[in-house]
Symmetry: C2
């Protein structure tokens, strides 16, 4: 056999990324073989190497494209007046964006140790840029006198960890709807920066 009928890079390429993302998230990068990915795509393992030079590149590609999407989506949020409104906007944006991409989020946090140093740095630059967006909000809120925050960098890390942690426990069929949880999280964040209810 050789090239199969109907095969096309525009189709196989995305399929490979989706399969890799799903499998890496489910079992972990190291535990997933190239053959498993190929099987999921419906292709033989050799074909994968028309799309990636190696397994590592597949991983770092998933991470960077996720973080770039994240930054791009945040950049497209509309402008709001006060720091408090901006913080609410960020909180709800973060929660919603991450909820829609559990696999990508999982990989971006869990597989950092499987990156080569150079790839790790690339990913970290993107992540820090996103953290910087929140910190800027917190700083402007302190300047406005609206927030009571002792250290904006520490608050940034605390808030992001809290928001991202939602992915680890929220279940669609649980006690609360997602909208309810979103409101509750915003309530906690609002409190945490010293905003009046």
């Amino acid at each position: 056999m050789a090239r199969t009928s109907g095969s096309h890079a525009k189709i196989t390429g995305p399929k490979i990324q989706e399969a890799a993302q799903r499998l890496f998230a489910r079992h972990g990068y190291a535990a997933v073989s190239m053959r498993q990915i190929a099987t999921e795509v419906g292709v033989q393992v050799g074909a994968l190497y028309n799309y990636t030079p190696d397994k590592q590149t597949l991983l770092v590609g998933l991470m960077t494209s996720h973080l770039e999407e994240l930054l791009s989506a945040w950049g497209q949020e509309g402008a709001v007046a006060t720091a408090a409104a901006r913080l609410e906007q960020f909180t709800r944006f973060h929660i919603r964006f991450h909820k829609e991409r559990p696999d990508a989020v999982f990989i971006a946090y869990m597989e950092l140790r499987n990156l080569t140093p150079k790839n790790f740095e690339t990913v970290e630059v993107l992540r820090r840029r996103y953290e910087g967006a929140l910190e800027e909000i917190l700083r402007s809120g302190v300047t406005e006198g609206a927030f009571a925050i002792a250290d904006t960098k520490v608050a940034t890390m605390g808030i992001i960890a809290m928001l991202t942690g939602l992915n680890t426990w929220f279940r669609e069929d649980g006690r609360l709807s997602f909208d309810e949880v979103e409101d509750l999280y915003w309530g906690i964040v609002r409190n945490s920066v010293g905003l009046a209810g």
Copy 2:
């Protein structure tokens, strides 16, 4: 060769656990081979199987003993009067306990997907018991009228995620000392439950 001079289970046993913990945390469970562990211990791979029936048991053993230590240590904290004081006690305890065991914490959070279903359930029971400890504090604070919390379960997950997240960014040689960060985190937690500064 065979039994080596000076060899003893009381020594090799802990050494294996320490090596496995260090390596699993650094590279991930799936990425670490039994031979790497053996090399780290200074032993041949066959010897490991005097101490564990298989690799999976090594992993689940690390997780459960970490969580049991955590629960035991929390159980030994002294009694305090108010819910607010108890929450401060929990916050500082959690941060300090986790700071001392970065490898164990990392594994307990990152390697859940490598557990068999039965082992996963065992670990989850322990984790839920710990989460329950915090939720009980929050509930009693609400009863006292000291805390303003809309949903204690959600607040529990949010606070624990925030506190545990500290491990991912704190560096001993960073801008702030650990004691400073501990105080800052307590300030955020205090705010988040609506306690007056």
